[in-house]
Each structure stands twice: as structure tokens, then as C-alpha cells.
């Protein structure tokens, strides 16, 4: 019996140790999450302006001569995939990877270490290894990625560009999402407003050449900030759950420990009493 009380005591200690770690991770994720959320909110006006401008352009534009408007479904696609740098974040990485639709021979721009690990054994081309830490990507980095993608798209290396990320809806809900960046054409034929004539100066081509990389970079940066916030918040939730489980286990084990201690004492008393009777 003494053996088993010792064993239970050891287990309690190990669970307590684990709990300390998960608690610390939860606190770290919570404080980082606050920053990430601020970051995400700060970029919202930029993100919204860029998006509304893009939809406006798609609606009113009648000149599709720009190379960014040409689509080629035959060619392989390019995917910008944004996920976490580390695990232990619940289903955050797995959920995003499950939602991906990637064919052999496609090009990937990985952002986040886990993405790189995921694609290491797959039959895809990695376009760049420069932006591996999602938490460290700044808007300047997104501009460089966008320029790289835009240049390759113009050359006809791929026929479609999309970005896959995790959308931060609120602290408890994060949805994996994929958005198409290029070709820059409306998905559905929208009603054209008559009489709206936009002046493009010096011309549609020049405006598009400037705007498209900026658009791509803006969307990617928005996606990165949203993904980082989602990752931290999933990690916090996962660690909270782990904490709760650890608490339950400790409670359970303490009960068992006390019982076994009590039964050991009872047994000893019985033995002593039995001995004195003789």
C-alpha cells in the first residue's frame, strides 16, 4: 500500500509541473494577444479602403488589358499560406491545412514555420523561404512578397494567386479562409452604374501596375495580422483547457491519495490491535 501512495504522490507532482507550464503559456499568449489585436485593429482602415477601392475598380473597370486581369486556369496556382510558427495551439494549424486545396506542382509562399514543415514532403515548389516567422512579418515584408508575386504573375509563371489564412472572428471563433488575389476580375457579372466615368491618370495600365502590388501586400498583411491574433487566441484557449484538465486530474489523484493513505492507516491499526489481543 505504501508503494501505491508514493506512486500517486509522484503523479500529482508531475501533473502540477505540467500545469505550471500550461499556465505560463496561457499568460504569455494572453498578453501577446492583446498586442496582436491592437495591430489588427490598427490596419483595419487601410484594409477597408483598399478592399472597397478594389471592388469599386472591379465594378467600373471596362479595360481588362492589364496582365493582372488575365486568368489562365490551365496553369498551376500560387498559394500564400499563413499559419503558425509553433504548435500547441489546439486545432489552429491542422484546421487551416485541412481547408487547403493544393495540387501537385503548385507554388507556395509559406509564412510560418509550421507551413514549411507541412509542405516539406509535398510535391510543390516553394517560392521563397525568407518569411518563415509569421509573428515577425511587417508591412515592408508583405510589400516584397507582393512584388515577387506580381512580377512572377506577369511573367506567366502561374495563372492564379490566392491567400489562405485564419480569420479572427472573435476570441472563440477563428475560421480558415481562402481568398483569391489574382486574376483581378469580378467573380460575378455585376450591374454597371451608368454615367460613372473614372479618370485613370496616366492610364489604366499604370494605375494597375501601382495598385495591384499594393493591393496584394495589403491583403497579405491584413491576413497575417488576423492569423497571428487567431493563433495566439487558439493557444490561449487550448492552454486554458489544459489547465482545467490538470486541475481535474489533481483533484482526482488527491482523492485517491487520501483514500490509499487512510486505508494504509486502518490496516496498520488492525494489525496492531490483532497483535495486542494475543
Amino acid at each position: 500500500m505504501a508503494q501505491s501512495t508514493k506512486l500517486i504522490k509522484n503523479r500529482i507532482k508531475s501533473v502540477e509541473g505540467t500545469k505550471q507550464i500550461t499556465k505560463a503559456m496561457e499568460l504569455v499568449a494572453t498578453s501577446k494577444l492583446r498586442r496582436a489585436k491592437e495591430n489588427m485593429e490598427r490596419i483595419q482602415p487601410y484594409f477597408k479602403s483598399l478592399k472597397s477601392l478594389a471592388t469599386e475598380l472591379m465594378k467600373n473597370n471596362t479595360d481588362f488589358s492589364s496582365p493582372f486581369c488575365k486568368s489562365d486556369g490551365e496553369k498551376s496556382a500560387c498559394h500564400v499560406v499563413i499559419a503558425g510558427d509553433r504548435g500547441l495551439a489546439g486545432g489552429y494549424n491542422a484546421n487551416l491545412f485541412r481547408s487547403l486545396n493544393i495540387k501537385d506542382g503548385d507554388y507556395i509562399v509559406p509564412i510560418g514555420k509550421k507551413v514549411c514543415e507541412y509542405f516539406a514532403k509535398k510535391n510543390v515548389h516553394i517560392l521563397t523561404y525568407d518569411y518563415l516567422l509569421a509573428a515577425k512579418v511587417r508591412s515592408g515584408d508583405c510589400m516584397r512578397i507582393a512584388q515577387l508575386i506580381a512580377a512572377d504573375y506577369k511573367l506567366g509563371k502561374f495563372g492564379r494567386v490566392d491567400v489562405s489564412y485564419t480569420k479572427f472572428v472573435n476570441v472563440l471563433t477563428h475560421e480558415p479562409e481562402t481568398e483569391t488575389l489574382l486574376p483581378f476580375v469580378p467573380e460575378i457579372e455585376r450591374e454597371r452604374k451608368p454615367g460613372v466615368l473614372t479618370i485613370y491618370e496616366p492610364g489604366v495600365e499604370a494605375v494597375f501596375n501601382q495598385l495591384i502590388p499594393q493591393y496584394i501586400s495589403g491583403i497579405i498583411y491584413g491576413a497575417v495580422t488576423s492569423s497571428v491574433a487567431s493563433e495566439l487566441s487558439s493557444r490561449r484557449n487550448a492552454m486554458q483547457a489544459a489547465n482545467k484538465n490538470a486541475d481535474e486530474m489533481i483533484e482526482d489523484l488527491t482523492l485517491k491519495y487520501n483514500r490509499s493513505r487512510q486505508s494504509a492507516i486502518t490496516q496498520e491499526i488492525t494489525e496492531i490491535v490483532a497483535g495486542s489481543d494475543m
Binding site: P45, Y46, L197, E201
Partner: protein, 132 residues
Amino acid sequence: MMEYRLKIVTPDRLAFDGLAERLIARTTTGDVCILARHTEYITPLAIGVVKVKAEGEWRTASCSGGTLVVTGGEATIITDAFEWSDEIDIERAHAAKEKAEERMKNNTTEFEFKLAELKLKRAINRIKTGSR
């Protein structure tokens, strides 16, 4: 003067959101002035000075490229970096200028040269705007 709504947005912040009388910006083909009731208009911006007249006062700022859009009577500047003249860190701009010049001298690839050139342009623009 009639006023119109002007928004200046960067990835890091909302630099301006309010009513303006006049906006002068440097586009890739030259300076333009936007007044109220301007028609629908889209143009790329060059690295240069932007002036805004709001509440009767002129303010200058350095703007590193981007796009100027006028839709529905509202003007928006979407840019990567935008600093009002009193926010510019001139020392930092000087340091960036020297660094960029250094890089252009020992450049290795054409791409890097272009990057350094852009950085130099931005630094010069900041110094010019900030020391006014």
C-alpha cells in the same frame, strides 16, 4: 471654401480622417490639386510632399508613393508610409540616406540597387519635408 472628406491611410495607422479644403499631392506625372466636387479619379503617387489645407491651415507631410483615389466626392490616399512634417525623425532619415548611398555603391544585384535607390528617395524626401 467648400470642404470634402479626406482619408489618409497607411498599414500602421489612420493618418488623417476629416474635412479638407485642398489637397496637393505629387503623382507620377506631376503635382495635382484636389478640390471639393472633384470627379472620379485614380492615380498612382510618387515619393514626394503632400500638402493638406484643413481648418484654414496648411500642413505638409512626406508620402512614400501609394495611390490617390477620389470616389463619390471623397478623397483617399492609400500609402505605405506617411508622416506629417512635425513627426519626421530627421536624424533617422539622415542615417537611412547614408546607409542607402553606401548600398548603392557596393550593390550586387540590380534588384538590390533599385531597393536602395527607393530607400534613398524616401530618405531625401523626409529630410526635405522635415527641415522646412
